[in-house]
């Protein structure tokens, strides 16, 4: 299992993938946090979907991680793409047969790959956290947002809970990507299906019938990233509900994909 993870990391650390992904993470983390402060007085809002996060809200203990929290869903989409591509490409390149000859334990392969990709996702989250929090600290004085509460015990607690929520959410998105990769066996199909579903289909369905947001996998994982309904970014989805339903989706996906991976002949 650890040998699989070590091998997988060799693949994940290649400059084009690692620097490319981290570059995107840094750029969008800086952008999300900066807009929160730079557009604070904009009538069009300063957060996603035209919402306004006021000076008072940003001045709370959770204000320092508001940008980090906002970018959580985006990090999830990146994780979904990376996990899906890294899993499905073993089929398209035909490398799965090499892997299985060198490591016939199929569960070990899945777990090892998952560990490596989780580490990759953690690095991504750490980069994002550093960049978005730094941007918030730098831009707060200019936006006349008080940062006094950010550095107190409540601020540290907010950082911890936000980080945990984003980790859970990103790993959840990534796992869905891995499941799609295993089911569809093509990076393009897996990524297209995943991204289209999460960004378009789910939103359309929710627009048609709002109550559906309580049952859509992407909505649950985004709700987890932003801490649930309490924070007001995904109104209507309670954190515990999101955790339960999102977790159920991920668990069912993992069980089906693992079963197929264990039983399926490798004939390409």
């Amino acid at each position: 299992m650890w040998r699989v993870a070590l091998s997988e990391l060799r693949k994940l650390r290649r400059p084009t993938l690692f620097l490319g992904t981290m570059g995107a993470v840094v750029f969008f983390s800086a952008l999300f946090s900066s807009l929160l402060f730079l557009l604070i007085d904009s009538p069009d809002g300063n957060s996603d979907r035209g919402r306004t996060v006021s000076r008072e809200v940003l001045g709370l203990a959770t204000g320092g991680v508001q940008g980090f929290s906002s970018v959580g869903g985006f990090l999830g989409i990146i994780a979904l793409c990376v996990f899906a591509a890294q899993t499905a490409q073993e089929y398209t390149y035909g490398t799965l047969r090499n892997i299985l000859v060198r490591q016939p334990g199929r569960i070990r392969i899945l777990v090892g790959k998952f560990i490596a990709m989780k580490l990759f996702a953690l690095v991504m989250i750490i980069f994002s956290g550093i960049v978005s929090i730094s941007a918030s600290i730098l831009l707060a004085p200019r936006a006349k947002v008080s940062t006094d509460l950010w550095f107190g015990p409540d601020g540290r607690h907010a950082l911890l809970t936000t980080s945990i929520n984003i980790i859970i959410s990103v790993i959840g998105f990534g796992t869905i990507g891995m499941v799609l990769g295993l089911l569809l066996r093509s990076p393009i199909s897996a990524i297209s299906f995943g991204v289209l579903w999460l960004l378009i289909v789910e939103n359309l369905l929710i627009a048609v019938k709002n109550s559906l947001q309580d049952w859509m996998p992407g909505a649950q994982l985004s709700a987890i990233a932003s801490g649930g309904a309490v924070r007001g970014f995904t109104t209507g989805i309670e954190y515990s509900h999101a955790l339960l339903v999102g977790g159920a989706y991920v668990a069912v996906g993992v069980i089906i994909a693992s079963f197929l991976f264990l039983r399926r002949d490798v004939s390409n």
């Binding site: 040998r3 699989v4 070590l6 091998s7 060799r10 693949k11 290649r14 084009t16 993938l17 490409q89 390149y93 035909g94 490398t95 047969r97 090499n98 892997i99 299985l100 000859v101 060198r102 490591q103 016939p104 334990g105 002949d265 490798v266 004939s267």
Partner: protein
């Protein structure tokens, strides 16, 4: 301890209503080079995949290096394989690809450069796989198969895409490995190559084993052929008639009469042709080669 590298009995694989491999039974002794031949779609790759645990047989049993094929984890650390051509990550270098597999199998990465040198890729070790030519990719596949310092090497068409020099190098490499005690199970469509290096042969046709045994036994069992040509092309019909009248099977192929019969009958054939007023421009007794035997046994031509 078993003295067979591979032993399969009644091994079968069915896809829907089609038998890809049907009750295959054969053995490959340790330390030999065994050629694995058959027309396209005869089930060679499917058999190899079953032996490597990549696909599950629908019936039969098998053992590799004394271990059941139901437990590939017990023998695969001692097996090197390249199935259906090389498959690597395009964005990684040749060296990185081998290190990836070495990490995966728990082998030392120290052998990577040595193996790349051995297959003639030493100076391109750091080039990305996607920049390799077909022959170089094939060489990297062979290097990957050698990573575990295998007791059994299974190669599917290892000479695909190689130039004549490369083919000769692979032949020498396989012979050297067999001399050191490695068993080699190799499929190839270059039958002349297999004839040169194989000690054993397994021949498949439509998923069924049509021959398994020593290469020398197969060739000895074959009817010698006398190839004859007259001075004029119009003599071929008369030569054919002479051979058939003498009770031999004969055909006209590639501008010559091919007569099945012992080499000694060539003398009589020459005399009969002379009596019929035909001057022979060629009279060659020969044993059929593997390719001719293959076509004869598989009915491919």
């Amino acid at each position: 301890m078993s003295n067979t590298a591979i032993s399969v009995s009644d091994l079968s694989k069915k896809y829907g209503g089609r038998m890809a491999v049907s009750h295959a039974t054969f053995e490959v002794p340790l330390g030999t080079i065994c050629g694995f031949v058959g027309p396209n779609g005869s089930g060679k790759t499917t058999t190899m995949r079953m032996l490597l645990g990549l696909i599950t047989p629908t019936g039969g049993t098998g053992e590799i290096l004394g271990e059941s094929i139901k437990h590939p984890e017990k023998y695969l650390p001692r097996v090197g394989a390249m199935i259906e051509g090389p498959a690597f990550y395009p964005a990684l270098s040749g060296s990185e690809n081998l290190k990836y597999l070495a990490n995966l199998g728990g082998f030392s990465t120290d052998r990577v450069q040595y193996l790349l040198d051995q297959v003639g890729l030493g100076d391109r070790a750091k080039s990305k796989y996607k920049t390799y030519s077909l022959g170089m990719k094939q060489r990297l596949g062979i290097a990957a198969a050698l990573l575990p310092n295998p007791k059994l090497l299974m190669l599917d068409e290892p000479t695909n895409g190689l130039d004549p020099e490369g083919i000769q190098e692979v032949r020498s490499l396989l012979r050297a490995l067999a001399d050191e005690g490695t068993s080699v199970f190799v499929s190839s469509h270059l039958l002349s190559e297999l004839e040169l290096i194989s000690d054993y042969l397994v021949m498949l046709r439509k998923g069924e084993v049509v021959f398994t045994g020593k290469m020398s036994d197969l060739m000895l069992d074959q009817q010698p052929v006398i190839i004859a040509k007259g001075a004029h092309e119009s003599d071929l019909g008369a030569l054919l008639a002479i051979a058939q009248r003498a009770g031999h099977r004969a055909v006209i192929r590639d501008g010559a009469v091919h007569v099945e019969g012992p080499a000694e009958w060539a003398l009589e054939f020459n005399r009969a042709a002379f009596d019929a007023g035909i001057t022979l421009s060629q009279l060659t007794p020969q044993l059929p080669n593997l390719e001719e035997t293959f076509f004869e046994m598989t009915g491919e031509k």
